[in-house]
């Protein structure tokens, strides 16, 4: 069964790398949707159903923490696992994301193995 994924990052480079890494991590990918910030992600989710969201934190317009908070407060999305993929590696940020309901946290820079390990048990 394939998995539709939404990748949220203001860097097109990171969105491209994550897509490649998901393939390397042998995730059974279906459609991969992209968004450059939280606002764009919420728009995308109005028309697309996904089974996994990978999101950066530091983004313009709406950051990843606000996006996470909004999605976890919405019955339509709160069951969708959200993994934060970000340079924001401080314990305070990690704890904040986990307290808000993030399924996992991957610090940039990352390897395909780290992504695979993090997604094991989530998807």
């Amino acid at each position: 069964m394939s998995l539709d994924v939404l990748i949220v990052d203001d860097s097109a480079a990171i969105r491209k790398i994550l897509q490649r890494v998901l393939v390397q991590a042998e995730v059974p990918l279906g459609k991969v949707h992209e968004a450059a910030d939280g606002v764009e992600a919420l728009e995308k989710l109005k028309t697309e159903k996904v089974g996994l969201i990978l999101s950066d934190i530091n983004m313009p317009n709406m950051d990843g923490i606000e996006l996470l908070s909004k999605l976890k407060a919405d019955d339509a999305y709160k069951a969708v696992p959200i993994v934060m993929v970000t340079t924001e590696g401080s314990q305070a940020r990690v704890l904040q994301a986990l307290e808000l309901g993030a399924a996992g946290y991957v610090k940039k820079p990352f390897t395909a193995e780290q992504i695979k390990e993090k997604l094991t048990g989530i998807i």
Binding site: D10, S11, A12, A13, I14, K16, I17, R20, N58, M59, P60, T87, E88, G89, S90, Q91, A92, R93, V94, L95, K107, K108, P109, F110, T111
Partner: protein, 179 residues
């Protein structure tokens, strides 16, 4: 911390660790350390050629991290990151350099947060071209941490000082626990 600036050795160690981590993990390129030095900020600032990505740090401590390389090496870095060859600067190359800077400065920032409390990171800004100049208000000197990679230069410049008039943050109790 009682001092108003971080020790040069602390900045150098954090930047080197973060840069090596990015090069070994995301770029798979060899990186050779060159001696670090202090650069007095010239007035007026000197001109540069190439590509430079700047990331701001804010909070109880404030500063800027800058990554500089020439255009050719910027294409090499972008090619290694995205596994696509680039012959000239374009949107993808500039975006890739922004992300490399974000990861290096963000990695160093995470090290400093162990001592200094939570710091915020800005979205990167890229400057490129010939004879460009940059000026950062209040910065009197930069810590320059240079590297060689495949015969090309990469320079990381860093400045971090205590923010005037800001009260020290109260650490969250759970921050003392190891995750």
């Amino acid at each position: 911390m009682s001092q108003s600036k971080l020790e040069s050795a602390q900045i150098e160690a954090a930047v080197r660790q973060a840069t090596h981590e990015v090069f070994s993990t995301m770029l798979n390129l060899p990186l050779e350390d060159q001696p670090a030095y202090e650069e007095i900020a010239a007035d007026p600032p000197g001109s540069h050629d190439g590509v430079e990505a700047l990331v701001g740090i804010g909070g109880y401590w404030t500063g800027t991290g800058r990554i500089w390389c020439n255009s050719k090496f910027a294409c090499t870095l972008a090619g290694a990151l995205l596994m696509t060859p680039y012959e000239a600067l374009n949107e993808e190359v500039l975006d890739a350099i922004s992300e490399v800077a974000n990861m290096i400065i963000g990695g160093a920032k995470a090290t400093f947060e162990d001592q200094l409390g939570t710091l915020a990171l800005s979205i990167p800004t890229v400057v490129f071209g010939r004879n460009y100049r940059t000026r950062s208000a209040g910065v009197t000197s930069w810590m320059v941490i240079p590297f060689h990679c495949q015969g090309e230069d990469l320079q990381v410049r860093f400045f971090l000082m205590q923010t005037k008039g800001q009260a020290a943050p109260t650490p969250r109790p759970e921050m003392v626990h190891t995750l």
